[in-house]
């Protein structure tokens, strides 16, 4: 997969000011939620962003959706900087980019009929006759495996998996180029997760849609991701094609995430590792490699920022265990 580039993220950062003191007005520090992140997503491709709670995944998705403005860096979609759009540009953006969120119980308004929920992005962004809208809604419902007559029902009349289908139909109705999926299946049963993942794959095949898929679980994205970026405390520590990362995980943190995948069979249980548990505060991340306080391979050199070393297939890893060799490095990672 090396289609044309749809999304280009360049040195993106988002720092949140945290207040303290008796009046809550003093600046106590800055949470470096996203800190110097770069990646690209090709047309018709899925990039999975994986990491533990609090590493900055949702902040990236909110930046991508223009719900936050970057502290530094930029996101371009089809060559246009999404945070520097005029009014017409914003309308264009809303048709091109849609989102599906984690909680299928909270994300649909309970008093709207399902048909109206699905139609909403279309009605807001395009001028179409009622009949045309109805036809498009019926089309979308078919695509996600719902019956057209169900358009008259309310969200509470559906199961969790069906609600996620409704959210997906609504996200896809404007035929967006990019859909941001923030933990789209974590709240669902395993059996239903499989249905939704299969559906995502079918839609991508039929429509060439790109996905930014966010998850904390490496096992659940293998089936659908082309590229995987592993995040830790606001930074991407390793990024590679799915085949590369599943067959040859390099960064000690990527390996720790693999070790944390629950066994497929009771015979695969492993004895517990005594690796340090606690994730350091993003207010005050460790100097150098941010993973060094938990890394079993950490040495003195890890107090300095690790090099970012290129990997076969276009990815990179940021760890002192993989020294940059001449010609293969993209330069040291930002501190």
């Amino acid at each position: 997969m090396s289609g044309s580039t749809l999304v280009e993220v360049e040195d993106l950062s988002k720092h949140f000011r945290v207040t303290g003191g008796p009046l809550g007005v003093r600046t106590a520090g800055h949470v470096r939620a996203v800190d110097g992140v770069s990646f690209r997503i090709g047309a018709g491709e899925t990039l999975a962003l994986v990491g533990e709670s609090g590493c900055g995944k949702t902040t990236i998705s909110r930046l991508m959706l223009r719900l936050e403005t970057p502290t530094t860096g930029a996101i371009t979609l089809a060559g246009r900087d999404v945070h520097r759009l005029d009014r017409a540009g914003v309308r264009w953006f809303r048709r091109k980019v849609q989102a599906v969120f984690q909680d299928p119980w909270a994300s649909l308004s309970p008093r709207m009929r399902v048909g109206d929920i699905i139609a909403e992005p279309l009605v807001v962004n395009e001028r179409l006759s009622r009949t045309r809208v109805r036809l498009r809604v019926a089309d979308m419902m078919g695509l996600v495996g719902l019956q057209p007559w169900q358009a008259r029902l309310f969200p509470h009349e559906f199961s969790g998996g069906q609600r996620q289908r409704i959210a997906l139909a609504s996200a896809l109705i404007t035929e967006p180029d990019l859909v941001v999926l923030d933990e789209p299946v974590s709240a669902l049963d395993v059996s239903v997760q499989a249905q939704v993942m299969n559906l995502l794959k079918d839609i991508q095949r039929e429509r060439g849609t790109s996905f930014l898929l966010i998850s904390h679980d490496l096992a659940s994205v293998r089936y659908i991701a082309h590229q995987v970026a592993v995040m830790y405390l606001g930074e991407i520590v390793e990024q590679a094609t799915a085949d590369e990362i599943y067959e040859r995980p390099r960064h000690p943190y990527t390996r720790a995430l693999f070790d944390a995948i629950l066994p497929a069979h009771p015979d695969d249980r492993r004895p517990g590792s005594d690796a340090a548990d606690e994730v350091p505060s993003p207010l005050n991340p460790p100097s150098g490699c941010r993973f060094r306080t938990r890394c079993p391979h950490a040495t003195d050199v890890c107090g300095h920022a690790p090099p970012r070393t290129a990997l076969p297939g276009g990815g990179s890893v940021a760890c002192h265990l993989y020294p940059a060799t001449a010609g293969s490095t993209k330069g040291p990672v930002r501190q």
Binding site: E52, L188, D189, M197, L218, A260, L262
Partner: protein
């Protein structure tokens, strides 16, 4: 492994919910035995009745909708369902203790962690002096491997990370050395690393105290990591139960087979994930016969007419399927 000495025996338990829409048969004739020192996993899809079963065991089902209509829950020779509310309150927490599905429900935001833990100890051991209570609280925090336990006593719940909150809830649940601990989806909201640590912690506590654990989950990964035996629930009933290896290697119910197949795997790259089409039946008017029949590939005429009772297929392994010999 367990010594197979029964601690808790549940027989014919039936809990229905009476609402405006009709009667939901949430728990509809459930029987199982829990042994000393073992972990029994209860697995099933959302809405299959797992939480209602767990709440019935400690008699905390939602009032006034829920009613326990039949069955017995025998803990060390005493049927909990026949006890007065007063005696039940004494046993809850001391002999049989529960970690709720939502940890926020177990912690009060306006009291410090130390306060809440001390209260939990005081309820069961009112005779203890303050210093002894404090010692037990710290001991509980050490059991759940809380870093710097003395420092945590003055924290409020909102000052703790999700993983730490769970340890506190765990410490409260084991503070009175219960015989039976019920944990309802304790790891579903956690990320993978925290989940793994938590399950290992439960095992360590079990090794130290011999507590028998009922672990409710919808994830077979949790079962593979933490359970000795498994009961699979579907639409208010147990459809298969047995030792964990037996269930993974030789499932004898089509539903168990399908659940195992739909797990995402890291080692194989599939083009399509096997999924179970359709959804579970309404518990208001469940179909006669096998409740899985409408979604089952093996369903035959008999399946939709007659309910298959649980029958033994191997030592300690039971299934409720007419065509179990054709499964796998």
């Amino acid at each position: 492994m367990s010594t197979m000495e029964p601690v808790l025996t549940v027989d014919g338990l039936r809990t229905h919910l009476f609402t405006r829409w009709g009667t939901t048969r949430a728990v509809d004739g459930v029987s199982f035995t829990l042994h000393r020192g073992e972990t029994l996993g209860i697995v099933g899809e959302s809405g299959s009745g797992k939480s209602m079963l767990a709440l019935s065991l400690v008699r905390l089902t939602p009032e006034p909708a829920a009613r326990i209509l039949a069955g017995s829950v025998v803990l060390d020779g005493t049927d909990l369902l026949t006890l007065s509310e007063k005696r039940m309150r004494k046993l809850r927490g001391s002999a049989i203790s529960m970690i709720l599905q939502d940890p926020h429900q177990s912690l009060n935001p306006v009291f410090t962690v130390g306060n809440q833990l001390a209260e939990a100890v005081h309820v069961h051991r009112p005779e203890l002096a303050a210093a002894a209570v404090r010692e037990r609280v710290l001991d509980g925090l050490r059991k759940v491997r809380m870093p710097a336990p003395e420092r945590r006593l003055r924290d409020y719940p909102h000052e703790l990370s999700g993983g730490m909150k769970q340890r506190i809830v765990g410490a409260m649940a084991i503070s009175a050395d219960p015989r039976v601990l019920i944990a309802d989806e304790p790891t579903t909201a956690l990320d993978v690393t925290t989940q793994q640590r938590y399950l290992r912690l439960l095992r360590e506590i079990q090794r130290e105290t011999g507590v028998a654990i009922i672990l409710i989950t919808h994830d077979f990964g949790v079962v593979a990591e933490a359970c000795d035996r498994v009961a699979v629930m579907y639409a208010g009933r147990i459809v298969e139960q047995g030792p964990v290896r037996e269930i993974f290697d030789r499932p004898r119910h089509p539903y168990t087979r399908a659940l195992l197949d739909s797990r995402p795997r890291r080692d194989v790259r599939l083009d399509r994930l096997p999924s179970i089409e359709g959804s579970p039946p309404s518990l208001v008017d469940p179909p006669p016969g096998c409740r899985f029949a409408p979604r089952c590939r093996l369903a035959a005429e008999r399946c939709t007419a007659e309910y298959p009772e649980l029958t033994a297929v191997a030592p300690g392994h039971e299934t409720a399927c007419w065509r179990w010999e054709e499964v796998s």
